[in-house]
């Protein structure tokens, strides 16, 4: 939680940063990276878009943690939700 507070401060983020220490949520989403950081398990970098009814509608999971979804692609996925409803 302290690391999250530091990150929120350093990067100027005002959305919630959640702490999943025991990786239970990470596991529920199938995103555990075994030995991902100095031998410890961490999360894989991934983005998951959930619609208003709680259904998973779009995901972005990569084989390279440098690669992130482009903001325009995320916004396009959000727009698609609006179009479908």
């Amino acid at each position: 939680m302290e690391t999250n507070a530091q990150l929120a401060h350093d990067a100027g983020l005002d959305f919630p940063l959640l702490s999943d220490r025991d990786l239970r949520t990470v596991d529920a989403y199938g995103l555990r990276h075994h030995g991902g950081h100095e031998g410890t398990d961490i999360a894989l970098s991934a983005s998951v878009l959930v619609d208003a009814s709680g259904t998973v509608r779009w995901t972005h999971v990569t084989r390279n943690f440098r690669v992130r979804p482009l903001p325009d692609d995320v916004l396009a996925a959000v727009d698609q939700l609006a179009g479908a409803s």
């Binding site: 939680m1 690391t3 999250n4 507070a5 530091q6 990150l7 929120a8 350093d10 919630p16 940063l17 959640l18 702490s19 999943d20 239970r24 949520t25 990470v26 529920a28 989403y29 199938g30 995103l31 555990r32 990276h33 075994h34 991902g36 950081h37 961490i42 999360a43 894989l44 970098s45 991934a46 983005s47 998951v48 878009l49 959930v50 619609d51 208003a52 009814s53 709680g54 259904t55 998973v56 509608r57 779009w58 995901t59 999971v61 990569t62 084989r63 390279n64 943690f65 440098r66 690669v67 992130r68 482009l70 903001p71 995320v74 959000v78 939700l81």
Partner: protein
């Protein structure tokens, strides 16, 4: 080449190789500058590093031309060697170091698993509380 043509002066060939090195450095250092300071403006560069590889390729090309003009020049050979090593390290950092195992992630069309976690201020956040509008979950690896 006419038999009377002189070889280009060694200084200008060395300068060509130095220019090559500067281009390679610009490509490599420029990538990290983008990642740490400018990713919001050019996010696609972070992902594919295209412009950076173009700079690296141009730099290598200049130094290879310099080597062609002065194959015996030790300065040019060292500069080209350094550039090749830099380009190799750049490739490793871009494509080998960040490799992670394949994962499917959550199933599309399935209900997103609920969770109850604390945010950076200690507040409890439940996914089920956020129903009624879309939610973007971003899983990240820690403080960069």
């Amino acid at each position: 080449m006419a038999p009377e043509a002189k070889a280009p002066p060694p200084q200008s060939t060395a300068r060509l190789a130095v220019a090559g090195l500067l281009l390679v450095l610009a490509g490599v250092v420029g990538y990290f500058f983008v990642v740490f300071h400018a990713a919001a403006w050019v996010p696609w560069v972070r992902n594919d590093a295209g412009p950076n590889w173009i700079l690296v390729a141009l730099g290598l090309a200049l130094s290879i031309v310099a080597l062609g003009r002065a194959p015996a020049s030790r300065v040019v050979r060292v500069l080209l060697g350094v550039e090749v090593v830099l380009a190799g390290l750049f490739a490793v950092v871009l494509y080998v170091v960040p490799r992670v195992p394949a994962a499917d992630g959550p199933e599309l069309g399935a209900p997103a698993p609920d969770f109850a976690l604390r945010d950076q201020r200690g507040n409890a956040v439940r996914l089920s509380d956020l129903r009624g509008s879309p939610v973007l979950l971003v899983f990240y690896r820690g403080h960069w």
